[in-house]
Each structure stands twice: as structure tokens, then as C-alpha cells.
């Protein structure tokens, strides 16, 4: 018999962390457009990215890098030095297309067919490392999540890791496919899909840009109820990157605030409140 947990929450959150979103950007690319993006990034004369840097990178790394570059261009303070910033990236199921290709070659031709690029480019750290290396950022860089819960993990880790005494800011980057690709084993996908990335420049305090407030509620009591389906919702029913980018886009379009709430996989609840700068005192 299936069982699920019902949670009872307090009125006030157990933990409230806020920081400012100084800049943000969203980038999308379908597989056909990916190669253009891969080769275009870094070709501009003023690009900080070395040429052909993304030659072996996974699609999620390519869009993640593009989103950070776009957000950097939108950063409100010109000529900001990002060299001490950290880079935290939460990809979702990174490396499926290239991993399937590598696995197929491995099965057909043995260990010699495994590309030396597979480990550095298809691991959970690959997106954050490529951004850190490519753009010369010396703060910590690491990957978060990697699975269907990457968004919740990334927001929780990103906000809690931003220690104002150590870091001037972090790039928090989310990447995922709109629909998970079904690999054709040759480096492509059998279905149409889009790879999407959202990059946010998080800085301590709430004095610049929009405010991102993460409130976490820990369940006061958890009741086990037999006869209900499992609480784990399928990935396509969970709030995704579209909702986050939608909230960010709403702010850009002049809305005063955007609220986004959803249940966390560990039984708690998260609420993100994005507030435009001029309304910050009302938070």
C-alpha cells in the first residue's frame, strides 16, 4: 500500500536568508542552434572567453556560459571585477546525450574509445568549472544537485553558501533541458527540445538589484498516511526553471514583486520572494 507524508508547518519560517540579485539572464538553445552558440561564444574581440574553449563542453555548459556572459553584460556597475566571485552551477541530468554516445562507443570498441574529455566535461562540476576557468573567477566553484531536484538544491545551497565575509558575490547558474532528450547514440536527440539556463549574480545584503528571499519552513509534524500515492512528484510536475525565469522576467518587465512557493523534496517548504529595488523597504 502506498504511503505519503503530510506536513504541518509553523506560521513563521525556520530560516530566512536574503540576498540581492544584481543581474540575471536566461538563455535557450535548441540542439540545432547549439553548435553556433558553442563557436560564437568567445569569438567577439572583447570576449573574456578563450577561442574554442567550449569545443568539448556539454550543451548545458554552453547555455550556462552564455547566460553568465549575458548577465555580466547587464550588470549594473560597469567594469565590475568578478575575479574573486564564486561560481555555483546546478545542472539537471547533465551529459545524457554525450554520455550515451560515450557509452555506446565503449560498448562497441572497448576502453580505448572513451574520450579523455568525458570526465572533465560530463561531470556535475563541469558547468561551474568551465565558467570559473573560462572567465577567470577565483572564488569557489562547484556543482550542485545534478538530478531532478537540482533547482531546490541549487537555491538552498546558493543562498546559504553566500558568506559576505568571504565572497563579494556568486554566480548561481541553473541549466536543464525543457524536455529531457532521448539520445540517438550518435550525439543527437530523438525528440525536439530546448536547453535552458538561468544565471543570477547574487551579492550579499539587499541593497542592490532585486531581493531574493529564501524562506524555509521545516515541518512541525509529519504524518504518515497510508493509502495515498508517494509524495515524490514526477519531475515534470515540479516547478522548473521556466517558473524561476518567469519570475525574474516579470521583475525586468517592471513588476513590483514576484512570489514563488513550492514544496521541497525533503518535506519542508520554500518561498522565494523577488522584489524590485525601489520597493525593497516594503519587504
Amino acid at each position: 500500500m502506498a504511503a505519503t507524508r503530510l506536513a504541518v508547518f509553523r506560521d513563521t519560517p525556520d530560516c530566512d536568508i536574503a540576498c540581492a540579485v544584481a543581474a540575471h539572464a536566461m538563455v535557450e538553445a535548441c540542439p540545432e542552434a547549439m553548435e553556433t552558440l558553442r563557436t560564437t561564444l568567445g569569438q567577439e574581440s572583447d570576449s573574456p572567453l578563450p577561442p574554442r574553449f567550449l569545443r568539448y563542453a556539454d550543451e548545458q555548459t554552453v547555455v550556462g556560459m552564455a547566460a553568465v556572459l549575458q548577465a555580466m553584460a547587464a550588470f549594473p556597475v560597469p567594469r565590475t571585477d568578478f575575479s574573486d566571485w564564486g561560481v555555483l552551477a546546478a545542472p539537471c541530468l547533465l551529459g545524457r546525450i554525450n554520455g550515451a554516445c560515450t557509452l555506446s562507443k565503449f560498448q562497441q570498441s572497448g576502453p580505448a574509445a572513451v574520450s579523455p574529455h568525458a570526465i572533465p566535461q560530463l561531470s556535475l562540476h563541469s558547468v561551474s568549472s568551465a565558467i570559473s576557468v573560462g572567465l577567470g573567477m577565483h572564488g569557489p566553484n562547484f556543482g550542485i544537485g545534478g538530478g531532478p531536484e537540482s533547482l531546490a538544491e541549487g537555491l538552498t545551497v546558493g543562498l546559504s553558501f553566500l558568506d559576505e565575509t568571504i565572497l563579494p558575490g556568486i554566480w548561481l547558474v541553473f541549466t536543464q533541458w525543457d524536455r529531457e532528450p532521448i539520445p540517438d547514440g550518435l550525439g543527437g536527440s530523438c525528440i525536439d527540445t530546448v536547453c535552458r539556463a538561468v544565471a543570477m549574480a547574487l551579492v550579499p545584503g539587499t541593497t542592490a538589484g532585486a531581493t531574493l528571499r529564501l524562506s524555509l519552513w521545516h515541518p512541525l509534524r509529519r504524518l504518515k498516511v497510508v493509502g495515498l500515492p508517494s509524495r515524490t512528484a514526477p519531475p515534470d510536475r515540479r516547478p522548473g526553471l521556466m517558473e524561476l525565469s518567469g519570475a525574474l522576467a516579470a521583475l525586468t518587465a517592471g513588476n513590483q514583486s514576484a512570489r514563488w512557493s513550492y514544496p521541497l523534496p525533503w518535506g519542508g517548504r520554500m518561498e522565494l520572494l523577488l522584489v524590485a529595488k525601489r520597493h525593497m523597504k516594503a519587504v
Binding site: 550515451a100 560530463l122 577565483h138 566553484n141 538530478g147 531532478p148 538552498t156 546559504s160 532521448i182 525533503w266
Partner: protein, 403 residues
Amino acid sequence: MRDNTVWITGIGAVTPLGNDFSTFADNLLAGRSGVRETPLYPHGPLPRQFAAAIGDIPVPPGWDPGSFSQLARLEQLSLSCAARALTDAGLWEQRQDLRVGIVLGMGAEYLRVWELDILAGGRRVFEPERDVQSVVHAVREKLDLSGPAAALAAACASSGFALALARRWIQLDLVDVCLAGGCDLVTPMAYAGFHNLRALSRRTDDPEKASRPFDRDRDGFVMGEGGTVFVLEPNNLAGQRDARVYGELAGCGTTSDASHMVIPSSDPQPASRAMQMALENAGVRPQDLGYVNAHAAGTPVGDRAETRALRLALGESAMHVPVSSTKSMTGHLLSAAAAVEAMACLVALQRQTIPPTINLDNPDEECCLLHVANQAWDRPVRVAASNSFGFGGSNICLVLRAA
């Protein structure tokens, strides 16, 4: 005791040198190698393969062995370490009354999962609908934990970042207690990937001698597998329940080289800065260090780069602080390495004995440090540091202090 103190009060481990703290400590201090011939391609084209492999994964107390054996191996490993850490800390019965978080270093979870599935005849990489839950969430659910959960990856430094984040969550009061560590497995494709990167030792004639950090004749690292998960607990809770403590996670420092996706930076500054940050964070001076567990995996470039970073960070104390690389015995446990090496530091703090670098017969002149070569040293150790560096230029240093 200070308010921000975070204690390590429980350990769950599965390592090539033993599956509990005491056995691991005995083998480590005796200088035993966990490296063995490990046939991954019995009829394949690669030369003789060897690694520091683990055997059967211990079934957690109270778990049904039949249902445990049905789990994927990475999940077995993580669940075994996490459940036994809670039991070791004496928190198994109380885990549902506390906000217990979990952070695991998992560098390439899905590549491992997809590979092991396809080797078993599956097609999971082609079936996205099967990827509904990651290992860390599966473990959280099976242990019925209600705190936040996350997997982190910084390649070979992954579990160090997991420990740093868990400490931060405790200090922010995001959790009451946090499980933190890392797990990794040696798989045929991972072995081939590192082999093709020319990162592995090719000393096929004598596997036990192959992992030789800082030695002039080193030629790459030896893969290891296993996991270690700690229970991290704030001072007030540990004090209230009079918990047995292994040591304090006293400081963390993190930076990035921002230099290359694979090769360590020739500039020692970023790695050195991570060490200095960790010491500052712990409130200790270089001369207070009684031991440094080096990352030193046995690669020609990496060991020299770390030596330069250590000498820059420790200044005049560099030649007075004993240094060893326990990867000479455990192999390189990749995502789990930092956690296993933090446990080696706890061994030094608990036993007041410093584990050696075995196979260090002819120290490289460019790795000039105070090496603990081949034999453990009996010596008072109050504070120890552990370095971990990963592909992608991630650097982390953890400082651990005796209770």
C-alpha cells in the same frame, strides 16, 4: 567551547582499509596498502588493471539484507555510510525528531548510474523517465530525514565542499544535525577515462607500489573507491547529550585556480590562499599545525604544485609541519577522497600518531617538505589540515581540531 563550534560525532565508512574507524586507523598507521589487482576488462586491451577496491558493502543495522542487495551499488554505499554514521553518533532513534540534513559529494553520479545500468543490460541513459530521484534524495527518504539534502561536486574535492556546506548549514541554524561526506566507485568507463587522460599510474608490475605520492618515480594516481559520511553537530546539541566527539571541523577555505579544466595551476597562489583562509577561519597559525594530510595523488605535476602552495601558505613553518599523503594506501577515492582524508586527520588527532606516505623511497627534490615517509610517527597533534584539489581548479582546505 565556542558557540560556532561544529563537532564530528559519528562516522560511517566503507574504505579499502576497513569499514569502521578503528580498523581504518589500524591499517593506516601500519602503512598497509589497499591497492590490489582489480580486473575490470578481463579480456580487454588495457594493461593489467589495479585499484584500491572495496568488498561487500556492510548492510546497515536493522536493514533487510535482501532488500539492501536490490539497491544500486552507489545507493548501497551512500546508505550504508549514512545510516551507520547516525548509529555511531547515537542519533539513530532520534533522527526523526531532529532536522537532519544530508550533503554528499557525488562527482559523476549519473555517468556512474547510466554506465552500471548499461553494463547490467539496461538502457537507462536512453530512458529519461527512469531518472526520477538522485541518490542523495533516495538516501534521505530511506532514512526518513526531514532536513535539506544536496549533492555537491568539485571533482576530487567534492566531499570537502560537502563538509564545508554542512558546517555552514549548522552555523546558520538551517539544520540541527547534518550528515556530510562522499561516496564514489571504480567503474570500467571511469577507469578508462582516467587512463586515457594519462592520469593513472602504469606501474603494472607491482600494484601495491604504484601509488607513490611525492616520490621521484611516481607516474600517476591509483583509483580507489568507497565512502565516508560524518555526523556534524553543533556545540549546544552535542553538549546537551554529552556526545562522544571525534574532533572539531574547525575551519574551511575554498578557492579556484581558474586556470585549466584538468591541469593544476602553475601559480601556487589560489591553492595557497585556500589553506590560509582555512587557517584564519579556524583561528590557528601555521605553526599550530601538527599535521597536513596532502591531496598529493601521485601525479608528477600535481604533487609539485601542491608543494609550492604548501610552502607559500605555511611560510617558515613549512619545513616543520609533518606532511603525508594517505592516498599512497587508500588510492584516490575521487568524490570521497576529501572525506576519507578528513577521517585520516581524525585518526592522527585521536591516536596522536601521524599516518605515513608509503612508497616514498626517493622524495622528489621539488617536493621538499617534512615528509612522514613509510612509517607512522608518534607525535602530539592538536590541529590538522587536509587539502583537496579537483579537476576544474577547485581547491579546499579543511582544518580539524582535537576535542
